[in-house]
């Protein structure tokens, strides 16, 4: 058992208060998408809704409704339309109210 005590002392503290410092590995985490309204058309929005396996996306008239709480950051929307969806880089998603996680994105893109 002394072996483990010495080992623990030698290694020191590896846990820290959050966030003690920026963590480079956070950049590797999959994150929910960020949509570009200027290229989102109704057709494109419908395609994105169709590929979302966790039903985080829905159409409401001229809005794309994105429920971040249901998003699993699977990346299917980004693969479907990389011009319209990119990684947000945002993984600290906790809020005090559920409605803060629902984003309404105007479909400002022009149909081609």
């Amino acid at each position: 058992m002394p072996l483990w005590t010495l080992r623990g002392l030698r290694r020191g503290v590896v846990t820290t208060r959050y966030p003690a410092r920026p963590d480079a590995s956070a950049q590797l985490l999959p994150t929910p998408p960020a949509f570009r309204p200027e290229v989102l058309t109704p057709d494109l929005a419908d395609r994105l809704v169709a590929v979302c396996p966790s039903r985080a996306l829905a159409r409401d008239g001229d809005m794309l409704v994105f429920y971040v709480g249901a998003c699993t950051a699977c990346g299917r929307c980004r693969a479907e339309a990389p011009e319209a969806a990119g990684a947000s880089g945002e993984f600290e998603l906790a809020t005090t109210a559920r409605e803060h996680l629902i984003k309404r994105i105007p479909l400002a893109g022009r149909p081609t």
């Binding site: 072996l3 080992r7 590995s25």
Partner: protein, 536 residues
Amino acid sequence: MTAIQPSVASRPGLSDLLTGFGQDAAGDGPVITLGVPVADLEAAVRRIAAYPGARLADVFASAGSPAGDGNSARDGSPAGDGSPVTLRLVWGLDADHRYLITESLVEGDSYPSLSAIAPAAFAEECEIYEQFGIRPAGGRPLNRVALPPGAGPDWPRLGRAPAEPPRDVHAPHHVGGHAFEFPFGPVRQVAVESLYYGLVTSGEELVDLYLFTWHKHRGVEWRMRGMAPGEALFYVERTEGLGAVGNSWAFAAAVEAALGLEPPQQAMAARAIALELERLYNHAAATAALCQSTGLVIGQAAAEIALERLLRVNAAVFGHRYLFGVVDIGGTRADLDAAALRSDLPGAYAELERAADALLTTNSFLDRLEATGILTEEAARRLGLVGPVARATGLAADTRADHPARPYGEFPLAVAVADTGDVLARFRVMLTEAAESVRLIGEIGRTAAGPGLALPPGAGPGQPASSGLGWAESSRGEALAWVALDGSGRITRARLRPAAVRNWRGFDDACRSQNVFTDIPIIEASFWLTVAGTAR
């Protein structure tokens, strides 16, 4: 892994076995399918079970006839009373490098009892009764497996509801003296999966144990019906998060076998690297869990540092800590960062090695593992156990060696085995396998590995219905999947059989072997199973 393999020579014994079923040759493929009339099923099971090296790997049913598997109007949709059910038994003929599937059409309400011959089939007999309403002959009580008490005929099922609900059967134990049942679960600790233990004890010694997993059942197989395979893959990956690569490889291989797809070589190499990374982090997690269960907090921290570093390697190499999104139908989807693999993996694995070396010289730790939770090789064979749990009993079964898919056939594998069957043996097998995984990653990583997809044939009304079996050696052992697709390429029946499905049935045997209450967490950590994998 994939069912598309080069020709494998048959042993004379296999020819004899098949001749007995009126089939002249085994063919070239790694999967042999036999039609067996239900009247002959009992004799067939006896004959196959007696064949050297044969093990019952899975039993499942589909609504409709075998030929109707791809017919969405019949198979995969709830059948009415009296509709036939196809019963499939999947056997691993490991020495022959083949799988054998028997198909039997059951037109009545019962079929010959399989568990009377192959005890490992009891869990599936219960499941089939719950989902399809047919039962083995003999009237043996059948347990509740998936659906909660009070589940009526309108609950989602793969077939028709049973005439009577399954019993809330506790393990069929007979306890004399002052033994009593101690209920534990399904909520056990924070962030631990739902699992109900029925512990039968005389005070401290464990007399018997039974498990209920239906609290967590999610109906994944039911949910997958009618989906395109690519759509269903999302569910397969999440069926058992700690086995995402193994299960999704097995499922993708089943679809590829059904569609005749052959993934590019570099994609198969990338899959293998991901699978070995999954094995590494799971074995590190099991090491940490063993330390936690024995109260060795600093050892737990050391193993968890290694675990965290390995998860970061996963993220750096494939973009996801738990390797989701790597496997796709027809190949792999995720990019592979070979430079990150070369630079980060050695340090992360060295962290695990250092922790393991220290643990293997800590007598107070080893004393808790030694002679705890013993399983015999006979029990492992009888119950059809797989993975490190089986290998720790001396059973050298590993689908990477027995049913090698690309690229494993090109890289000889040293299968890790031990012979004492206790927790220490399972721990040693995991450590040896972790070293072997690092060696394999190094060798496979020197070949071209990366994303690539074989495109599926154009789906349409003219396409024939098809089915396929796939497999992979996940960190917990052999993962199997079977799918039937209709002419439009949509799933009519998907069967997922993660390794956890097999190995939970060995857990109570291991716990009963001269163990006390405090041994149970240690045994559970050494099995390193998931409830999600079995309550899918």
